[in-house]
């Protein structure tokens, strides 16, 4: 489904990586490894279509993503280093609106449900700015429960999460993979996915 062909990335006068090739099938997870600054975030942003590779092509279901445009975006959920939440809106408003903007209009009940799953049911109506670092992260990740797109691209989703929350996310990933979804992710923490084939991509 998702293919990277001879990808290369240049930042400033530094070549971060080149000749990266991979092919990820439905139900597969790709973990991108590498020390700090090896280009993991840069690679993930390319895979989303947010930036263009210095060389090489990215294919989705056999078509180059740059020619797919909007259609490709409809298939991707990206959660990056930044959480994409509005400080002034409440937790539940944030979730409803960010889902709607991603093309999934949901009812307040559905949102409540998702937040409950993420352990935020008591904070539902607080503005995000008063939340703790880990709680903000959970609000961002709650989108995974709602945006049922085939491809998830997650940049260090586990940062700032406590042990409970890490388990939750692990469960979510397994479920998504079982339903034939694809996941590309990076993390410096250990994560064990046993139910699906895991591909390791090592940078630098």
């Amino acid at each position: 489904m998702l293919q990277g062909i001879n990808l290369a990335c240049i930042r400033g006068d530094r070549e971060l990586f080149k000749n990266i090739n991979f092919s990820l099938e439905a139900g597969g997870l790709m973990q991108v490894h590498g020390p700090n600054g090896s280009g993991k975030t840069s690679l993930l942003r390319m895979l989303c279509g947010l930036s263009n590779p210095a060389a090489g092509e990215i294919h989705w279901c056999g078509t180059a993503i740059r020619s797919l445009d909007g259609d490709y975006f409809a298939a991707v959920t990206y959660i990056g280093h930044l959480s994409g939440t509005k400080d002034d809106l409440t937790v539940i408003e944030n979730l409803c609106i960010s889902s709607a903007l991603a093309g999934f209009e949901i009812s307040v009940d559905q949102a409540s449900e998702a937040l409950k799953y993420m352990g935020l049911s008591e904070r539902e109506s607080l503005p995000v700015k008063v939340l703790s670092q880990g709680q903000r992260r959970r609000v961002a990740l709650a989108r995974l429960l709602i945006c049922k797109t085939p491809l998830w691209i997650l940049d260090e989703p586990l940062v700032a999460l406590d042990v409970m929350a890490v388990k939750l996310i692990q469960g979510l990933l397994e479920q998504h993979l079982q339903q034939g979804g694809l996941v590309v992710m990076t993390t410096h923490q250990e994560i064990e996915i046993t139910t699906a084939p895991v591909m390791q991509l090592q940078l630098a």
């Binding site: 991707v76 990056g80 939440t85 509005k86 002034d88 809106l89 960010s98 903007l101 093309g103």
Partner: protein
């Protein structure tokens, strides 16, 4: 989608009512500063009035441009919008419209009262309000391009003014000109139709230009 964006931005504005109010008060205060620095002679003030009100409206609208995208940018929402399957131009149009509703409309409503402070005659007040009504959406639309281009550049707040003010000048000239024409007893319809034309043109092109700028800024 379009609806959601507007709804969200208005919600945000309501949550921070101060945003709406402060743009408005900025407008009021700037207009009130001029008599303080120029002196209280009414004749002089009356001649200056259309220019001052228009410049103040323009500055007020411009100052709030910073908020149009930058908050969304800083917290990553904008990234998500770019990844949304809907047309980005439409999204941007929604944001510009919301910006106008939040900043432009209050200015239009306030202008007649400020005009009274400068002792403008009733008909001139009416013309002033009409030109502002037609002109402020143009300011929001053109401004969105500047806001998108300067995104993420620290100090963008002032840079945006540099980019945007020259583009605002035609609107300013014809807006203030219409009122002056009216006060001088000349017809002002030509002025109005020109501003209308600006509005149409910017409605068509600005969202598209803004959308492309956003893509560039986030690359």
């Amino acid at each position: 989608m379009f609806g959601w964006i507007i709804k969200r931005d208005l919600l945000l504005a309501m949550r921070r009512q101060s945003d709406v109010l402060t743009t408005l008060f900025f407008f009021i205060i700037v207009v009130s500063l001029f008599p303080l620095s120029v002196g209280p002679e009414m004749n002089m003030l009356r001649t200056m009035a259309p220019g001052v009100v228009w410049v103040a409206a323009l500055l007020a609208s411009m100052l709030s441009l910073g908020r149009m995208f930058s908050n969304d940018y800083l917290d990553g929402t904008l990234e998500q919008m770019l990844l949304s399957p809907q047309s980005l131009s439409l999204l941007v149009l929604g944001k510009a419209l919301a910006h106008w509703l939040v900043t432009g409309v209050p200015l239009v409503l306030m202008a007649p009262i400020l005009g009274i402070q400068y002792d403008l005659p009733a008909e001139a007040l009416y013309v002033l309000t009409t030109t502002l009504l037609l002109g402020t959406p143009v300011l929001s639309l053109i401004g969105s391009i500047g806001a998108a281009l300067t995104l993420g550049l620290r100090g963008g707040g002032v840079l945006v003014s540099l980019l945007v003010l020259p583009l605002y000048i035609p609107v300013l000239i014809f807006g203030a000109g219409a009122v002056e024409a009216n006060m001088a007893g000349v017809g002002f319809n030509a002025h109005l139709s020109l501003i209308g034309a600006f509005l149409l043109v910017s409605l068509v092109f600005a969202p598209w230009a803004t959308a492309s700028s956003l893509r560039v800024s986030l690359e």
